[in-house]
């Protein structure tokens, strides 16, 4: 069965724009928090299957993930993902270069959880605002696992799709690539599409 979603170009465009808004706001928050320039940009938004997802993330290396479940016009498991090395780098840049590896490791989980919380909240918030609908979000959870195991927890059926958003993060002269993922059931996807179409017609 063909899993490829059928969002139109414009719909995808809008989605991208929404995520742009979201990460932009998140970057603002992060910047203020760590007193450094933080830049976030969204180069890609695309729908992928599990295999492709693993291709992006690397099937055997560990990734750090922060997940928040969202409910609203559509339901999804939202995730912010960093390959482990990148996540260490992000945390190190945010906490300060001078700290020892042990300290960084200890605080890594907490720091990433908050970062994930900020980014996901902002993106979901942007979506919520433009849809003018209520979305509820649960408290974030932290995972450190291989993509394979992570996804198999969430992708329960073959028909589940992953909306993968690539995020480029620049802070303090290092560039890190992370990902945001929204894992949607097929019904949720349809609902999402519908909501997007509503927004588009509002612009006209």
């Amino acid at each position: 069965m063909d899993n490829k979603p059928k969002l139109s170009e414009l719909e995808e465009d809008l989605l991208g724009e929404l995520f742009n808004l979201g990460v932009g706001r998140a970057a603002n928050s992060l910047s203020k928090m760590v007193n450094q320039e933080v830049k976030l940009s969204v180069p890609h938004v695309k729908f992928v299957g599990q295999q492709e997802m693993e291709d992006y993330l690397g099937s055997n290396s560990q990734i750090c993930a922060v997940g928040q479940v969202m409910h609203g016009p559509f339901d999804a498991q939202s995730l912010l993902l960093f390959p482990e090395k990148s996540s260490m780098e992000v945390v190190r840049k945010m906490l300060g270069e001078h700290l020892s590896d042990e300290l960084i490791a200890e605080m890594q989980q907490e720091a990433l959880t908050e970062i994930g919380n900020i980014v996901l909240n902002a993106c979901i918030g942007a979506i919520s605002n433009s849809m003018k609908k209520i979305i509820t979000v649960e408290l974030p959870h932290f995972f450190l696992d291989t993509p394979n195991r992570l996804l198999s927890d969430y992708l329960t059926t073959e028909n589940d799709v992953v909306l993968l958003i690539t995020i480029d993060m620049t802070l303090s002269e290092s560039e890190v690539t992370g990902y945001m993922a929204f894992i949607l059931g097929p019904f949720s996807l349809q609902k999402l599409q519908k909501s997007l179409q509503e927004i588009l017609s509002g612009i006209g």
Binding site: S29, K32, A111, T113, E114, S128, I134, V137, E138
Partner: protein, 730 residues
């Protein structure tokens, strides 16, 4: 019961639970009023009192206005999304402290706040959440280990900073730090900025152009540098030190002390060199100076005895190895003491400096001249020849030329001075030779040079060695000869043309252990050692006594005067004139009854002085004769200035005078010259009648020799006088 009340009841319940969980709870309504805080919050926060209904969150916690917590609160209000504020990124947003600490003191520092993990959760059923709950957890305990880790980190940082400071301090000083790549020529990876100050190269240039360290090392030291490194590396020594020269940015040569550490990779392979250099040129200079002082004579800058000995030992070994012969010259200046005494040490010193200079000018580069004492110099001539005789010849040549050079006049502080060296030469090495022995032998040889009349070169041979030994022995005995009355005089008559016995010459003999020792054997020694003064005095005295004794006999052939030989040293003696005067008076002799015979040599040594003394003696009335005339290397011009009465022609001319045309001519000349100068000639050593006749015909006045009589004792002389018949002469 309003929903509000039941909610509060519920929260009380919740609160009880919360206390057991050690967490704080702040409840806000949608207008950001704080409607509830739990006991934990009250106990932990000094700024809150218990019931604070209807106070704005920011009024209670104004410092949180621009922070993450408030942002999350607002967000919760807008979106209804929960947020976490991590302890990692926000350490102490709320002014909460450990309640126990708070009881102790109200005034706690911000750094003493508890570490906080905060959850901000909107509570409500709809999007317009009615409440916002803020949960605060004290995560300090888990942070204590963090603190320890932090301390560790700080310590490390401090250490790094200190090291950095030390590095900066170090690099500001004279040590130039370097890092060299372990590759051919050792490319310079890093060199500290003070390189310019120390060695006039720009550090950036060196590093940028990847110069090789070896390029800076003095050509002569390159090999040594490399070898030193290799040796150390091979023996796994990773820290080493060496000294070598480098060329600095101005082209100057600088001595440096290099401390290098070898840095290895984990597998033991050499990664690079790390080290530093210090300029020790000045230090080296001082070292050199000290060395110089220990080995060099401060006045003349020639090597001193110590250095000579070392050099000599080296030369002996080398000569034995390569089988060639060297020469050692032992030299002293003939009248240095006199110059020093009469003109002062200043002049004496300058003279020595000039002498040293002339010596070094003359000798070759491979030779060494040393000053070993007052006016004593030793010169080592290296590698003269593989044949001993040839070496001797070469040595002679050099020694002679040295002698000539040093005899030339000196101009010191306006004085024109003359001195000359006596040089003793030893050819070495011979079996058993060692440095002291060689010097000793050369000294002995020099002695002989002096004895031979100075300004001379003499060689040391085995015979000389023996003679030296004998001579020492002789000297000892000779000193006692006068006191032991071992000396006696014999007399040889001098006969005039007419046949009458005019005078006699007294000659000294030494009888020791029933053996007669000839004057030729002991007079030179006596002269050299100064014993001659005593002997000479005795001779003069005894001669006068004897003369007087003969006079008392009133013999028919009484002589007119007695001739006594005076040695150079005796003549030079400042008391001499006085002594003569005293002796004459003592023995009640007429001055004209005493004839003093002095050799040509005495005159040559110091013409001025001689003439002066002779004039004085003449003034006294004493007769003066010049002995061995014709044998000295003198010019005839002075002859006219000498107040001489007699010229004694040396027997070497007389012996063959009748046969050898040359001798004949010389004798003739002397006689005629003497006549012109109004001097009387005495011919010595006449052994044949023909000679006597010949000389008589030539015009010679007085005759002496075996033909007439051999030298005889005083008593025998008396008899001789009694029985002499002059007519039998011719």
């Amino acid at each position: 019961m309003s929903a509000y009340t039941s909610f509060l009841e519920q929260t009380e319940l919740i609160e009880k639970l919360l206390i057991s969980l050690n967490s704080g709870l702040i409840l806000l309504d949608k207008d950001e009023n704080v409607i509830f805080v739990n006991k934990w919050v009250i106990d932990s926060c000094p700024e809150i009192d218990s019931a604070i209904p209807q106070q704005k969150f920011l009024d209670i916690f104004p410092e949180l206005k621009s922070g993450r917590v408030y942002e999350a609160i607002v967000n919760a209000g807008i979106n209804g999304f929960p947020s976490i504020v991590s302890n990692a990124l926000n350490r102490h947003p709320f002014p909460f402290y450990n309640p126990i600490k708070l009881i102790k003191s109200n005034d706690l520092q911000k750094s003493e706040r508890i570490f906080q993990a905060i959850h901000i959760v909107p509570i409500g059923l709809s999007r317009q959440s009615n409440y916002c709950a803020i949960f605060i957890n004290d995560v300090s305990p888990s942070v204590m280990r963090e603190d320890a880790l932090k301390k560790q980190v700080e310590k490390k940082q401090l250490a790094v900073r200190e090291l950095d400071q030390q590095k900066k301090l170090f690099e500001a000083g004279p040590s130039v730090v370097f890092k060299l790549d372990y590759r051919d020529g050792y490319p310079v990876e890093y060199v500290s900025p003070n390189l310019y100050e120390q060695f006039f190269y720009h550090a950036e240039d060196i590093i940028d152009n990847n110069f090789h360290f070896m390029d800076f090392i003095h050509a002569d030291d390159v090999r040594g540098y490399q070898d030193h490194i290799l040796v150390n590396i091979e023996t796994d020594v990773d820290h080493f030190e060496q000294e070598y020269r480098i060329i600095d940015g101005q082209g100057g040569i600088r001595w440096v002390n290099d401390f290098t550490t070898v840095i290895r990779k984990e597998d033991g392979q050499i990664s690079y060199f790390h080290g530093y250099l210090i300029d020790v040129s000045e230090h080296k200079l001082i070292e050199k100076q000290i060395k110089k002082q220990a080995f060099y004579d401060s006045l003349t800058s020639l090597p001193n005895r110590r250095m000579l000995t070392e050099r000599l030992n080296q030369d002996i070994s080398r000569a034995r190895r390569h089988k060639f012969y060297n020469a050692l010259l032992f030299m002293d200046l003939d009248n240095f003491k006199y110059i020093n005494d009469s003109l002062g040490h200043g002049v004496g010193d300058e003279l020595l400096v000039e002498v040293a200079k002339r010596i070094t000018d003359r000798i070759r580069l491979e030779d060494m001249a040393a000053r070993i004492g007052g006016d004593e110099f030793v010169i080592v001539l290296s590698e003269l020849d593989k044949d001993m005789e040839q070496a001797a010849v070469k040595g002679q040549i050099i020694a002679d030329s040295l002698r000539a050079k040093l005899s030339a006049s000196y101009s010191i502080r306006g004085n024109e001075l003359h001195t000359s060296p006596s040089i003793g030469v030893v050819i070495f090495p011979r079996p058993g030779d060692e440095s002291q022995k060689i010097i000793q032998n050369a000294d002995t040889a020099m002695y002989h040079a002096k004895a031979a009349g100075r300004n001379d070169v003499r060689f040391f041979t085995e015979e000389m060695q023996l003679a030296a030994d004998n001579r020492l022995h002789l000297e000892k005995n000779l000193r006692m000869a006068v006191t032991n009355q071992e000396l006696c005089l014999v007399y040889q008559p001098q006969v005039a043309k007419g046949g009458e016995v005019l005078a006699c010459e007294s000659l000294v003999r030494w009888i020791k252990d029933n053996k007669i020792i000839s004057p030729a054997d002991f007079i030179p020694v006596a002269e050299e050692t100064g014993i001659i003064i005593d002997i000479g005095e005795w001779v003069v005295q005894e001669s006068c006594r004897q003369f007087k004794a003969w006079q008392q006999l009133h013999l028919k052939n009484a002589i007119q005067h007695i001739a006594v030989n005076i040695s150079p040293k005796q003549f030079r003696d400042s008391n001499f004139i006085q002594f003569v005067e005293n002796t004459l008076r003592y023995h009640q002799m007429e001055p004209s009854e005493l004839e003093l015979e002095i050799t040509e040599g005495i005159v040559i040594a110091d013409v001025e002085d001689t003439i002066e003394k002779m004039k004085q003696l003449k003034a006294m009335g004493v007769r003066l004769a010049m002995d061995d005339f014709g044998t000295g290397y003198s010019s005839l011009s002075y002859l006219k200035n000498l107040p001489l009465d007699v010229l004694k022609i040396d027997q070497s001319f007389i012996r063959d005078a009748s046969k050898d045309p040359n001798d004949k001519a010389i004798v003739s000349t002397i006689i005629s010259m003497a006549k012109h100068l109004k001097m009387v000639t005495v011919a010595e050593g006449i052994e044949e009648k023909s000679v006597l006749n010949h000389l008589s015909r030539e015009g010679c006045s007085i005759f002496q020799g075996y033909y007439i009589s051999k030298p005889i004792t005083g008593e025998e002389f008396s008899n001789f006088l009694k029985s002499w018949d002059g007519s039998l002469l011719f």
